[in-house]
Structures are given as C-alpha cells and as structure tokens.
Point group: C2
Chain length 365, copies 2
C-alpha cells in the first residue's frame, strides 16, 4: 500500500488506531472522514489523520485501501456508501465485531473483504488511540467466493504489518465463533450479575458476599451499552443459538443434580478441566508446569513493587498476575503464576518479605 | 478459649490453618485427629497440631472448642460423632461450604454452631496451611434458635481473633447465598467452557479464539472435583433453584433478542452496571473515581517489576492489577486500576518506560 493512499472512514478509537499503526509501519499518509466533526478533529489532533475530508467521497476517492470503522449498526450502510465512492482498484475493509451483515451489504463486490481485529479495548475516541492496539491480536479476515485473491493477499500483509495475526474465516463461521467466545460470555456476565444483584436473602445482600469467582465472572458485566446493544442485535441469530444450547446444558445439569448423579458431575468437571488445559496451552508453552502462588497483601503503595522486584531480580518470569482488592482495611489477594521450576524460589522470596504463600498447580492433577 | 482446649477434627488445609491462626492469636495448644494418619502427621510436621490423638474421642474429650474440618459429604456424620464425644461445656463448630445439612445433623444441640470461612483456596493438605488464611475473610456463623448465646459470643470473638469478619446468618439463607455467589458461578464456568470447548466451527477451534472475557469467566472451570462434586450435591436444592432462575432469565433475553428489543437490552445492561458499581463499592471507597490503564507488555522477567516500581516510587497505589498472558511470542496485557487522581501521572510514568497506555474509567459513565 503506497504512500497517501489509505483512508479511514470513522475516526474513533479503532479507526484512529489503525491510522497510527499504519503510519508507524508503512509511513503512509492518512485521509480521514467522520460524520462527527469533533471526532475527526480529535483524530487530527492525535496525529492519526493527516488529511481530514469534508465529505466521505473526498476521503475515499483516491484511496488504495479504505478502513470502515463505523459502529456495528451503521456498518452495512456505510460500507455500501464507501464501495460506491471508492475507485475500481481499491480494497475496502472494516473492523466490526460481526461480519455476516456487512459482507451481505457488500453484495459480493470483489473489492470488499470483512475484517475484525480482536483487541477488546473498552475505551472510546481517537484520544485513546494507539499504534500498539493490534500488536499480537488476532485479526479475522472474511474473504468470500467473489473476493479478489490479489486484494486479499495485500490486505493480509497489511494487517500483519500492523503487528496482528490475520486469520481467514468464513463470515457466518466468524459470527458463530464470536457468539460463543465473546457475546455469550458477555451475556452470561450480565445475566449472572442481574440475578445475584437482585437477590436479598434473609436481609443479606448477595452481592456484598461476592467471592472471587463471582467477581471474575462479572468483570465484563454492564459494559458499554452503546457498543453492546448493537453487537447483541447484529449477531442475534448465532447468539440465540448459543443461548439455547446453554439452556439445554443447564437442563442436563439440573437433571444430574436432581438424580444426585455424582458420575455425571465428575465427567462434566473433568471435561471442563481438559478444555481449560487446552485453552491455557494457547498462552503458555507448558501450562501443566505452572504453579499459582496466592499471597495476602495490604492495601498500600509499594507492595506490588516489592514483590515483583524481588522476583524480577531473581530472573523469575511472572506468567500471570492478579491482584484483587477486598477493601481498604482488608487489603487484597495477589495471585502470581510462575513456572514450576521457579515456584519454590519465588515462595521463599515472598516469605522473606513476610508474606504467607499458598502454592498450587495451575491445573489440577 | 483457654490454653490446651482447642481440638481440630480433620487436619487438612483448613483444619491446620485454623490451628495455626489460633496458635498465633491465642497461644493455645492444639489437639488434632484425622482419619488419615498421613494427614495428621503432616499437620504435626507443619506445627499446626501439638497433640495428635489416636482416636477422635481422645482429641475432643477435653476440648473447650472443637473445629470439625471434614469434607462436606462427611460433615453431618462427623459432627454427630464429635457431639457424642465432646464435653457438656464444649463449643462445636465446622468450616464446611454448606450449612443446612450439618446443622440438621446437629439436631438443635446447643453446643453446635455452624461456620463457613470464605477464603477460596484451591490448595489441599496441611503442608499448605497458613495462619494468614482467614485474614479479612468473611466467616459465616449459623446460630439457630437452640444455640446457646454465651457459646455464640465466644465463638464470634474467637473467629474475629483469627482476623476474620464473623457474619451471622440463618443456615438455609447461607446455603442460598453461596448457591448464588459461589456455586452458580462455578457451575456456569463449567457449562460455558464445555459448550465453547466442544465447538469446532468450520475447522476453527472456538477455545483457541478465546478472548479476555471467556478466560475471565472460566478461570474456576474444572476446579478440584474432590471438593466440588460434594458441594454441588450437598447444596443441590438451592443450586437447582438458582439454575432454574438463570434459565428463565436466559429465556427472557432470548425473547428480547428475537423481537430486537433494544430498550430491554439497554435496561438490562444498565441494571448490570448498577450492580457492578455496588459490588465494587464493597472493595473500593469510591469505585467511580477509579481508572483502568491497559498496557501491552512483552513476556520476560522484570517487566512487571519495572512498572510497579515506577508507580510505587511515585506513591501511586495500585488498587487492582491483572496480567493476562497471550503467548510467549505475543506477551500479554497488563491492566492496572488506580485512583483517578493518579491516573494521568501513572500513564506518564508508563509511557516514559516506552509503553502505550489506554486509560478508561473502571465504571462506564
């Protein structure tokens, strides 16, 4: 993609981040347009857009590559407009969380390839944009039968140049994958928190008694309605299928509990343990050789620095770390995941700082 | 509770931790018994038990306070045996995760008060026991109509002396609270991971595409079947009620999605946001004034030390911290929660170390 030939339509967080990453990687000049003049001005201010356009058509007319970064609900219409305005040689792509609707809107135009960088930021606006947004992120691309192979190869290389890992997937399959891995978890977080949050049992507010599991499971609850209402509606069919299957799995569990079927529960937990091992294998070379150290810590500055510094000085790599806060008086719990080979040494270093350490394997035997 | 008058029946992780905490707080001598001789020897080795007994009766005969720390499924029988062997003046309590069954087994004996310290460790065995186990933890106590008030006051004070926060609750209400706040989240984590883990969509393994929300929501999946099968079965009635309500809430969401009811989704997300704000208020004085900083970090020793040290040196308190690993090549994402007043300074310190920072409020506006 040559200089001065990239356009971003929609200059919010993702559009401006694509622009910044592209400028850093390829030194291109970025044309930009946004229906919201303030959003466009913010992207210029952030250094993401070099040539703000007064009209969508002006931004895209000469662009070799156009990123459409509109909200999910507006994407189909916006992509149609961009395809009408873009040149015959252009590549047009988008960054939306669902793909079937926008691919249908492109109606087999060989210039369009759907895209979805999975970077999960909740921030909004070009002011928060960063060139690092896509480093290491999966970036789904959804070529279809009519997609031009040369354009696909160029977009693939471009996405990789931003630091992302391009993964090709069929649009409908993409929407089913994200329904399961992202939209269903989000929906369940809301469902669980609304159920727990409403419950007052014998005067006890259930939410006040929340343990670590409830807090982990509801971290994404209540997130950004401006984004999520559109996503839930745009992807409602795969999400409905996932919710229906979830309900049937709950019913199966209810039957096992009613009949006190310990064997079923054992198989069911073992199956989950196996999936968890596989999921962790994506992140860690050998998740079976990881230990989790659990440490109670007070709530004051410098506690984490002391702990991580001691481990860093001993060249112990912290694979994962989680600090959960209970209250200003009660402090919190620090959970540190390290390689088994380092666990004993890490435990000694923490105990030397006066902490009690409980070590367990990350995966149950 | 005077010297030499505390007995622990079941000297695994929790029993031995009660013993260690009691010794540190009150200098008492601990009698102990476990049906597993190796477990008893481990508790002696750990310094938790001073007087190992050859029989349950010998351990509890002279004890003023007896902690029964048997597995959930064995608790009712074990508590009956202890009550038969304990003195007339004794206080007998337990540390099980469900309370109705064990309280029924005590059959209104004025010497028994059910207990449940909420400390959520997955470790097993006295070797991992620590006197700090209960620091700041909620410790449910379940007095009933026949409970002796003097005994309750003494147990309450004893539990507080271990650093825990005693909370009185009716046994049946306790079981409904933990069904909602602990057992339902655990069950949903297993259900979600088994559903996602089984799905291969168009050749794509859904689990390999797991985002942060799926990983957060399945952190407790596949946990310790030895503990969890018993808990699910012991608390199956409140859990069945919670699962049934969850199913009905899913059905309500399905209807809203089918009819594309954006208004319902908006109210549903807003309700979750409200509950989340309330839950976070338990942990933080003013959760509305917290900012979350999101930073991409490489996978090598010393990265966390550098970050936390810079913030510690600037007297910036890290309220929460989460490091999630993507892969050895791709590194991970570090999420740091700090007070709004510190957020700009923290961002500058991180940027000075070469990181790009995306800052967002912990709670959506």
């Amino acid at each position: 993609v040559a200089s001065s030939s990239l356009a971003v339509v929609g200059t919010g967080l993702l559009g401006a981040s694509v622009a910044l990453a592209a400028k850093r990687a390829n030194g291109v000049r970025i044309a930009g347009w946004d229906p919201d003049e303030e959003a466009l001005a913010a992207a210029v201010e952030r250094g993401a857009v070099d040539a703000p356009a007064g009209a969508l058509e002006d931004a895209v007319a000469d662009a070799e590559l156009v990123f459409v970064a509109a909200p999910v609900a507006e994407l189909p219409e916006q992509v149609r407009t961009v395809l009408a305005a873009a040149g015959e040689e252009a590549i047009v792509t988008d960054v939306g969380s669902t793909k079937l609707g926008v691919c249908r809107a492109a109606a087999g135009d060989p210039r369009f390839i759907g895209g979805h960088p999975v970077c999960g930021s909740e921030a909004r606006g070009a002011a928060h944009a960063t060139a690092d947004m896509f480093a290491g992120a999966t970036w789904f691309l959804t070529p279809v039968a009519t997609t031009d192979a040369g354009r696909y190869a160029r977009l693939h290389a471009f996405v990789a140049s931003l630091g992302a890992l391009p993964v090709a997937i069929e649009p409908e399959a993409h929407d089913r994958v994200v329904a399961l891995t992202s939209h269903l978890p989000h929906a369940l977080a809301n469902l669980l928190l609304n159920q727990t949050g409403t419950a007052t049992i014998d005067g006890h507010d259930a939410v006040a008694a929340a343990g670590a599991s409830l807090r982990d499971m509801t971290r994404v609850a209540g997130a950004n309605p401006r984004i999520w209402i559109d996503i839930f509606l745009a992807n409602r069919e795969p999400l409905l299928a996932a919710l229906g299957e979830h309900r049937r799995r709950i019913e199966r569990l209810e039957r096992a509990l009613s009949s006190e079927d310990a064997g079923y529960l054992a198989r069911w937990i073992a199956e989950a343990a196996g999936h968890r091992r596989r999921m962790l294998s994506e992140a860690h070379t050998d998740p079976g050789a990881l230990q989790r150290l659990r440490v109670r810590v007070p709530d004051r500055p410098g506690v984490l620095a002391g702990v991580t510094q001691a481990l860093g000085a001993a060249r112990i790599n912290i694979e994962e770390l989680d600090l959960q806060h209970f209250s200003p008086e009660r402090g919190g719990v620090l959970t540190i995941t390290v390689a088994e080979a380092d666990a004993a040494r890490a435990g000694e270093l923490l105990e030397a700082q006066g902490y009690s350490v409980v070590a367990t394997p990350l995966l149950e035997e």
